[in-house]
Symmetry: C3
Subunit: 109 residues, 3 copies
């Protein structure tokens, strides 16, 4: 048994969960947020047999896509009379960031 | 040190946390939701010495119970004039789903 | 690649995330709550190369501090006419509780 942590964008979480459930792969979902953009995203916790990890990753890849997000930089301290026009900076956010961890013991209690 | 992830039903989370705390086992609790039923549940993160993992699992087993939940199927596309009476489908949800993982390093900073 | 779980106090979470991002260490943040005090805290999930785990722990140590919290004990069942004046009990809460776990596979999908 392996435990997969997949951090995905909020827009892709619903369909990714459905694709996994449809293939009989159980998922638990958490609301989370990214450290850099300080925007909400979703983290999926997936316990799956070793021989089905490949299928789980494939379903995540097929249901998550890259997007451009905008980060509005914090205005610096401006002198009176000066104008600060923050231009939003475009940041590319990937489809999914995935960590696979070994499970020593799995129980249904 | 081992890290235990226990996904439990919301109704059982409070008393399970109290039972663990009462035995001196620390717990951190997260709101989560199940992928299949799309209903809220709770995930407990428990860092515990290897020789007390058995006690933690026993306290989880004693405080979490199986329940029947109802899933109302999504109505299919119906033709005009047709009626769709979704009968809720009964789904059994277990007491707790538990993953035990090895911890390489533990620090109190 | 290692996965670091750091449970920190809510007041320290923002600056800890910024310190990590500033050092180019990515972080995902979750709202969580402590089992004993039943008060909100924050859990940081940090995937980081093995040789930078030390830097991540140092930044956590520098940005999280110990605080005293007050736990108001639950009033016992009092007899009519008896008064129960709960004295809040002072509890010391540490800066951060940190678990480091080995990652078998890391993917950006
Ligand atoms: N210090 C920095 N300087 C410049 N650009 C930076 C940066 N940190 C992040 N970025 C960029 O911003 C995007 C959003 O990062 P955020 O931390 O909000 O949201 C992240 C975070 O929540 C999570 N994540 C990614 N790598 C992680 C890791 N190693 N550990 C924990 N969470 C991670 O996945 C989300 C998307 O990450 P992704 O890499 O696709 O996309 C990232 C990356 O392209
Ligand atoms: N391997 C795993 N990895 C990550 N999280 C896991 C997991 N196994 C269980 N969980 C978590 O525990 C909850 C209860 O699972 P349980 O198997 O007792 O009870 C399940 C099971 O009896 C049934 N079920 C789940 N997936 C199904 C499927 N594809 N087909 C038919 N029944 C399903 O529905 C109940 C509720 O499932 P739901 O997903 O809403 O909620 C799940 C999910 O949040
Ligand atoms: N092994 C572990 N596994 C999972 N999560 C862990 C953990 N150790 C600590 N945590 C998390 O970190 C928070 C702060 O723990 P700390 O030990 O600094 O500070 C603790 C500790 O000083 C004290 N405490 C905890 N359990 C106790 C108990 N059974 N008896 C007496 N004092 C307790 O109360 C403070 C707040 O505890 P609380 O549970 O509300 O909140 C905890 C919990 O959310």
């Amino acid at each position: 048994m392996k435990l997969v942590f997949a951090i995905v964008q909020g827009e892709d979480a619903g369909q990714t969960v459905q694709a996994l459930s449809g293939a009989g792969i159980s998922v638990t979902r958490f609301a989370s947020s990214g450290g850099f953009l300080q925007q909400g995203n979703a983290t999926l916790l997936i316990g799956v047999e070793e021989e089905r990890v490949g299928l789980a990753l494939q379903l995540i890849r097929e249901n998550c896509r890259e997007r451009n997000r905008y980060l509005t930089p914090m205005p610096p301290m401006v002198e009176p009379g000066e104008m600060f026009m923050p231009y939003p900076v475009e940041v590319q956010v990937g489809g999914a960031t995935v960590f696979v961890i070994n499970v020593e013991q799995f129980e249904r209690l």
